[in-house]
Structure formats: structure tokens, C-alpha cells
């Protein structure tokens, strides 16, 4: 019971405290306008390059837009504890670690899902991409899967950011990796030889593929394999993130490195 | 011969609005009908509690804020009409850690501002070296400011304010947040500057500092002038005689009330200091109250008694507390 409270209430409170992007003056430019402009940028590039359709770019970029709130939200939520010097207090409290940090993930996922859906809808509307209403529920589910999987990777990054000072660079670089490798703007098959091997190990790759299939008329059941594969990968990342967190916590008690800003 | 700084009926109000939908507007009078003047070569103190209007006054004098009404002249120039002429002849230094480019070295910070103040390229190098020497930062000039202590930053700030050899220097709480040794170094520096003939307007809320440094002091509160004079004048202007400090334990309120009614007692303040109680009794001028106060307090509970002359702080408390 108390673990559940820590997950939900603690997570939400800390999210609001540490991630100031919910302020509309930040939220609208970075989490609404920016993803929409990214969709337009690549859709026009695709038109110019005669590559794929507008729908292809709307899906790829809208699903990937979840990564901005995930990567930034998760790293700020955890690294922020360090820079505001509350991490020590948190670790000194008897609250269960895993619940505490996983609690940080839930508002991140919710935020990412909303961001992704908004950019999806507005992008589709601006570019006159016609998707039958019957396909939207399945798309919404897949977008949620994308947000979850991206948060798994973000937890790993956040754990690393306990040790690395420059979390902004870390988050930005990972954003770039996802943009380039996950088949957001180029079909995986058209990437140079070694690149798809990297894509296979990244979140979002399979979600984007599944969403494109569903938008083209496939059922959720049809893409079940992709979704399961994505969720398995996500659990892997979550586990890795928790292991790194635990390791850093243990080693920091020995070496007092967590409070160093 | 006009005064170096001349402030006449100066007022400044701020409009603040709160609320998103139903905005309510409020006008705060930060400075009200303030008048004073600072003579050439004088070290003038502006003293007052937080929010008294000290910084607002300084910002009007250094041309960052326009007065709502009234006139302020620096070196005979109206600060509202001709800001540019004022800017090149005054220096401004504020306390705290901000106001420097962290990523630049101390010398580069000075170069940057030397350029902004139009210090001629030929004299820049020697001027910067001189100032680094003056503020005791020679040898550290190549280091980046991010690694500087607060005291070092503050001294660098002063060097920055002196780059163009201004006739008047405005120092806004320069010793705030600095350790005692650093603050002492800084005060010595201020004394040297006055000896070099600068006119200095200093704001502070450290009484000791004002008492030590200032030729004259203006005490302001809620934007208004409460008193003006030399530290000695201020101390005697407030009618305090002897001050008795009594350290006691567990003195009942009735005893305190009794002391208040004693002949010759002006005010009594009681405060807790650790497990002790500190009683500060201010007497009327000329009254001898030590005996009667001690008689009123049971011998058993007295820990220590101290009789002293009133300090500037007593005068300040009497002025600001009584306003």
C-alpha cells in the first residue's frame, strides 16, 4: 500500500517540483510546437526527396516526439534531486528505492503520451493525412507503448546522469540517436548496412513500425509480436536502469559521490 | 560649490499586479520625499532595514531607474535627463556573487568592462594591473571567476567599479555574505579609497561597519529619511543614556514589567540566548539605573551584568523600531 503511494503521489509531486516544463511558457514551445514543426520539416524534406508519404513522416516523428519529455523529464527528475541537494535526503529516507524511482516514471510516461498524441493529431491535420477514425484507438495504444519503452531507456540515462555532470548533452545526444536510428524518417531497409543492427536494440523502432502497419489497416493483434518484443526490450532497459541506480547508491555510500554537484 | 550627490524630494513608486484573470494593481512607495546630499570626498552611509529603499535610491542615482518625482544630481548632472554623462563618471558595485562572467578570468572580466567604460587601450593594461594589486588579486588574474571565493569576487567587483577612475563610487551592501576576515579586508579597501579622494555612497545594514567607516549616515526606513548626521550625532540625537545588559535565567514576566516602570528606564527588551535570557535596558540620558535594575532582579538568577555606552545599533533600533 505504502509502496503504491510512493509510486504515485511521490512520483507526481517530485515531477512537478523538478521538471519545470509543465509551465505553459515552456510546455507549448518545446512540447507542442517543436514536435509539430519537426513533423513539417521532415514531411517537406520527404516530399522534396520523393521518399515515402506524409503519413510516413507524421507517424515516425509523432511517435519519436515522446522522447523529448521522456529523456528530459526522467533525467531532470533524478539528476535534479542531486542538483537541488535533495538526493541525500531521499536516499536517507526509508522509502523503497525501486518504488521511489519507478514512481518518477509514471508522470513522465503520461506526459510523453499526451505530447505524442497532440503532435500526431495536429501533424495529421496540417498535412491532410487521412486516417479512418476506427484506427485511432489502436494508434493511441501504440503511442502509449512507445512512451513506456522510451521511458525505460530514459531511466538508464537518468541513472547515468547521477554520475555525469552534463545531463543536457546526454539527453540531446540520445534524442539524436533515436531520430537517426529508429526509422523515424528513413525506412530501416534504406539505412546503410550496419545501422539497422543498432536500431534493433533501441526503443521506438518497433513501435514506429507497428504504428505504420496499424495506420495502413492492420489490426492490433497483427502487430502483437512487435509490441511484445518492444515491451521485452523495455523491461530489459528498466532492469538495467534499476541495477545502475542500485550500484551507484551502494558505491556512493562508500565514496560519497552522489552529493557532488 | 555644489554637492557631489544631491537628492531633493526624491520619490519612486512601483506598480505591481498580481492575478491572471482579475489583475489587481497595487502601488508601493519605495522611496518617499527623500532629500540628502553628499559632499566631495565624503564617505556617506545609507542605513536601513531590508526593503527600506536603499537599493532603489542607489539605482536611481546610477541611472538604472527613473525617479517618479523629485530631482537627483550627481556631480551636478541630473540623473534623469543626462544618464550617459553620469554613467561615465560613476562606479557601481553591488554585493553578492552575481555580476561577473564566471567563465572568464578575472583579468578578462576587467578587460571587458574597461572596454565598456571606454578606458583608453593604451592605459588599460597598467590600469588593470594596478587595480588587481589594489584589491589584492595580483597573481590570480588568469584564473576563471567560477573558482573564486565570495570575498575575492567582491574585491574583483570593486576593481571593476574603479576601472575608469570614477569620481563617485556607489557601493550597495558590499560586505553581504562575506566571512569576517573577508569583510574586514573589504572595509580596509573602502577606507583606502576614501583616502584616495573618492566620494563614496555606501549602503549596509551592518551597524559596526557604518560606525567604523562613514563620515555621515542617513537612516531610512519605508522609503523615508529618519535621521541624518555623523555616527556620534546619531548616537546622541536619540535620547538614550546608559545601556545595561543583564544575562539571567528564568526571570518571570512580572519582573520585566516591574523594571519597565522603574525611574529613568526608557525601554526594556528581553530575548532568549541559548539557555539564558538577555535583558537589554536602555536608560534615559543622565539617569543612573544599574542599581535599581539589579535590585529588581533576584540576585540568584543573575549570570552577568554589563554596562555600556549606547552604540549606533542602539540608536538605529530606537530610530527604526520607533518609526
Amino acid at each position: 500500500m505504502s509502496a503504491a503511494r510512493i509510486v504515485f503521489i511521490g512520483g507526481l509531486l517530485s515531477y512537478r517540483a523538478l521538471f519545470n516544463w509543465l509551465n505553459p511558457w515552456i510546455f507549448i514551445p518545446t512540447l507542442v510546437l517543436l514536435p509539430i514543426f519537426q513533423i513539417l520539416l521532415f514531411a517537406f524534406m520527404g516530399r522534396q526527396a520523393n521518399l515515402e508519404s506524409d503519413q510516413f513522416f507524421v507517424i515516425g516523428n509523432a511517435v519519436q516526439s515522446a522522447s523529448t519529455p521522456c529523456l528530459w523529464g526522467m533525467t531532470s527528475a533524478i539528476a535534479g534531486e542531486r542538483s537541488s541537494r535533495t538526493l541525500g535526503l531521499l536516499l536517507a529516507s526509508p522509502a523503497p528505492r525501486v518504488a521511489t524511482f519507478v514512481g518518477r516514471a509514471i508522470p513522465v510516461i503520461a506526459n510523453a503520451w499526451i505530447v505524442s498524441l497532440i503532435s500526431f493529431a495536429v501533424g495529421a491535420w496540417l498535412l491532410r493525412v487521412d486516417l479512418p477514425p476506427s484506427r485511432w484507438p489502436a494508434i493511441a495504444v501504440l503511442v502509449l507503448v512507445g512512451s513506456v519503452s522510451c521511458t525505460g531507456l530514459a531511466l538508464v540515462l537518468a541513472a547515468i546522469s547521477l554520475r555525469v555532470r552534463d545531463t543536457a548533452t546526454l539527453a540531446n545526444s540520445m534524442y539524436g540517436v533515436l531520430l537517426i536510428f529508429c526509422g523515424v524518417n528513413v525506412p530501416l531497409a534504406a539505412l546503410p548496412g550496419w545501422m539497422p543492427a543498432v536500431s534493433a536494440w533501441l526503443p521506438l523502432t518497433r513501435t514506429i513500425e507497428a504504428t505504420r502497419e496499424v495506420a495502413a489497416g492492420a489490426s492490433l493483434g497483427h502487430v502483437g509480436g512487435l509490441v511484445l518484443h518492444e515491451l521485452a526490450l523495455t523491461s530489459g532497459y528498466l532492469l538495467l536502469g534499476i541495477c545502475i541506480l542500485r550500484y551507484f547508491e551502494a558505491s556512493s555510500r562508500a565514496k560519497a559521490t552522489l552529493e557532488v554537484v | 560649490m555644489t554637492s557631489t550627490v544631491e537628492v531633493t524630494d526624491l520619490c519612486r513608486s512601483f506598480k505591481t499586479s498580481t492575478g491572471l484573470l482579475w489583475r489587481s494593481h497595487r502601488t508601493t512607495e519605495a522611496v518617499r520625499d527623500l532629500s540628502f546630499s553628499v559632499e566631495r570626498g565624503e564617505l556617506f552611509g545609507l542605513l536601513g532595514p531590508n526593503g527600506a529603499g536603499k537599493t532603489t535610491t542607489i539605482k536611481m542615482l546610477i541611472t538604472l531607474l527613473l525617479p517618479t518625482s523629485g530631482v537627483a544630481r550627481v556631480l551636478g548632472i541630473d540623473v534623469a535627463r543626462d544618464p550617459q554623462a553620469v554613467r561615465s563618471r560613476i562606479g557601481y558595485v553591488f554585493g553578492g556573487e552575481r555580476g561577473l562572467y564566471e567563465r572568464l578570468s578575472a583579468a578578462d572580466n576587467l578587460r571587458y568592462f574597461a572596454e565598456l567604460y571606454g578606458v583608453s587601450p593604451r592605459s588599460q593594461r597598467t590600469r588593470i594591473a594596478e587595480l588587481l594589486e589594489l584589491v589584492d588579486l595580483s597573481g590570480r588574474e588568469k584564473e576563471r571567476v567560477e573558482g573564486f571565493s565570495r570575498g575575492m569576487r567582491q574585491r574583483l567587483h570593486i576593481a571593476r567599479g574603479l576601472l575608469h577612475d570614477p569620481e563617485v563610487l556607489f557601493l550597495d551592501e558590499p560586505t553581504i555574505g562575506i566571512d569576517p576576515v573577508g569583510a574586514r579586508q573589504l572595509r580596509e579597501l573602502v577606507v583606502r579609497l576614501r583616502e584616495a579622494g573618492k566620494t563614496i555612497l555606501l549602503t549596509t545594514h551592518y551597524m559596526l561597519e557604518a560606525d567604523l567607516l562613514c563620515d555621515r549616515i542617513a537612516v531610512i526606513d519605508k522609503g523615508q529619511l529618519l535621521a541624518l548626521g555623523t555616527p556620534t550625532e546619531l548616537k546622541s540625537s536619540v535620547d538614550i543614556g546608559q545601556v545595561i545588559e543583564v544575562e539571567t535565567f528564568g526571570l518571570p514576566q512580572t519582573a520585566i514589567d516591574r523594571i519597565e516602570t522603574l525611574d529613568g528606564v526608557r525601554t526594556v527588551t528581553a530575548s532568549v540566548r541559548g539557555h539564558l535570557q538577555l535583558l537589554v535596558v536602555q536608560g534615559h540620558p543622565g539617569a543612573e539605573v544599574t542599581g535599581s535594575v539589579l535590585a529588581a532582579v533576584d540576585d540568584q538568577v543573575v549570570h552577568r551584568v554589563l554596562t555600556r555606552e549606547p552604540t549606533l545599533e542602539d540608536a538605529y533600533v530606537a530610530l527604526v523600531g520607533g518609526s
Binding site: M45, I180 | Y101, R111, E115, L116, G118
Partner: protein
């Protein structure tokens, strides 16, 4: 005359010291270079799929110049906020030098970082993707680049003074980056943009600077485009100057300079 020399010296010193500040933070400087390269890489990947050489060169050149705008959009919009946070904004205003003469070289330093990003991206295009951009008229090409940098600095100056009241202007800066790439025709010719955005493209100096670069690369005359780019830069500068004057008067009246 003396005043002009002084002003030029001021611009030079501020520009130099600002670049030194960028150089100190290696991580941030690196990100300034890497961020546009991420998008350039995406563009190269998109345009190489169909193997159209001409399209690849068109996009390759634009992608390389992208950093010039992104450096400006993100850094300039946050310029005054940063000065405000570090408490130096008041000191700049209290100094006798005109604020515009301080802000313009800072913006120029940012644009210079953009130039560096262009060089790095051109090398990246050449060595990682084998895209070499043939330049027929080297001097015209270089002049176009310099003119673009100068106009961008003026735009950055204008941007920085326009958003002073916006507390989290870095967020706005982030959102401006992609639209700028679209409007300026960095990857796609203006012809395929909707008609209603074209006027915006025409008053956006990089549009002309980039057209100048492309013309010079193809051996056509870039001078008209360069002239328009310069004219727009001057216009930005003048508007920025007027705005900064108004801003300072209003700041003295309403006490909006300091954060506290």
C-alpha cells in the same frame, strides 16, 4: 573618427571575449556543433535513398548551413536572460557604452559558432556521406557565407531584445529552430512551401544568403542575393537598435532589468 575606432574596438573585444566564454564550456560548444549535425545526418540519409545527385547537393549545402541558424535561434533568444541571471545585465546598462554595441558583437560571436558548425558539417558530409559540394565561384561563395553570418548576427541581436520580457525564452528559441530551416529553404526549395509563408521567407535573411551560396556554387552571380541579405541585416540592426532604446527607457521606468 575616434568614436568609430572606439566602437569598432569595443565590438572586436566583446566578440573575442564572448568566443572565449563559449570555448570554456567544451560540452556546450560540442552540442552546438553536434545538434545541427544530427539533423544534417537525417537529411543526408533521406536524400541519399533515391540517389538523385542534384537533390543531394541542394540539401547538402543547406544542411551544412543549418548550424548558422540554430546557433542563433537558441543562443540569442536566451542571451539577455542569461545576462540577467548572472547579474551582469544591469552592469551592461549602467555602463556608458550603448547596449546595442555590446549585444551585437555577442550575437556575432554566436553566429561565428554557426560558421564553425558549417565547416564541420561540410566535412562530415564529405567524409561520412561522400557528398562533395562543387563550388564554381569560391570568392562569391565565401562572401555569401560571411554576409549571411553578419545578417544572422543582426537578426540575433533583434531577437534577443525582442524577447527580453519572456522569462523562459530559451524554450521559444528551441521552437524557432525548425521553422527557420523550412522558411530559409535550407532543404527544400521555397517553391514547395505554401504561398502564405513565402512573404516570411522573403524577409528572412538566410533565405537570400543561402540562395547566394547556391548561386555562387553553381557559377551564377550571387551579388544581388548578397545585397538583399545585407539590406535585411541592416534593417534588423536598425529595428533592434530602436527596440533596445525603447526597452531601456521602459526598463528605467518600470524596473524590469534585474531579476530580483
Amino acid at each position: 573618427m575616434n568614436r568609430v575606432v572606439r566602437a569598432a574596438r569595443l565590438v572586436g573585444v566583446v566578440w573575442y571575449l564572448q568566443l572565449r566564454m563559449f570555448a570554456v564550456s567544451a560540452f556546450e560548444a560540442l552540442m552546438q556543433l553536434i545538434w545541427p549535425m544530427i539533423f544534417a545526418t537525417s537529411a543526408f540519409l533521406i536524400f541519399r535513398v533515391n540517389g538523385d545527385r542534384e537533390l543531394l547537393i541542394f540539401a547538402g549545402l543547406g544542411a551544412s548551413a543549418m548550424g548558422i541558424w540554430s546557433a542563433m535561434a537558441t543562443a540569442a533568444s536566451n542571451l539577455l536572460q542569461e545576462e540577467r541571471w548572472s547579474g551582469t545585465l544591469e552592469l551592461l546598462v549602467a555602463a556608458p557604452a550603448p547596449l546595442a554595441l555590446v549585444l551585437a558583437p555577442v550575437a556575432l560571436a554566436m553566429a561565428t559558432m554557426g560558421l564553425l558548425s558549417m565547416v564541420v558539417t561540410l566535412l562530415w558530409a564529405r567524409f561520412a556521406f561522400g557528398i562533395s559540394i562543387p563550388v564554381a565561384d569560391i570568392s562569391g561563395f565565401l562572401v555569401s557565407i560571411l554576409v549571411t553570418i553578419a545578417a544572422m548576427a543582426m537578426l540575433g541581436f533583434l531577437l534577443s531584445v525582442s524577447v527580453i520580457r519572456y522569462r523562459t525564452s530559451w524554450a521559444l528559441g528551441n521552437a524557432l529552430e525548425f521553422p527557420g530551416w523550412l522558411l530559409g529553404g535550407f532543404f527544400v526549395p521555397l517553391a514547395i512551401l505554401p504561398d502564405w509563408v513565402k512573404p516570411l521567407s522573403y524577409v528572412f535573411a538566410p533565405t537570400w544568403g543561402l540562395a547566394g551560396m547556391r548561386d555562387a556554387a553553381a557559377g551564377r552571380s550571387p551579388w544581388l542575393q548578397c545585397a538583399i541579405c545585407v539590406a535585411l541585416g541592416v534593417a534588423y540592426g536598425v529595428i533592434g537598435l530602436l527596440l533596445s532604446k525603447r526597452l531601456l527607457t521602459s526598463a528605467r521606468r518600470n524596473a524590469t532589468l534585474s531579476l530580483t
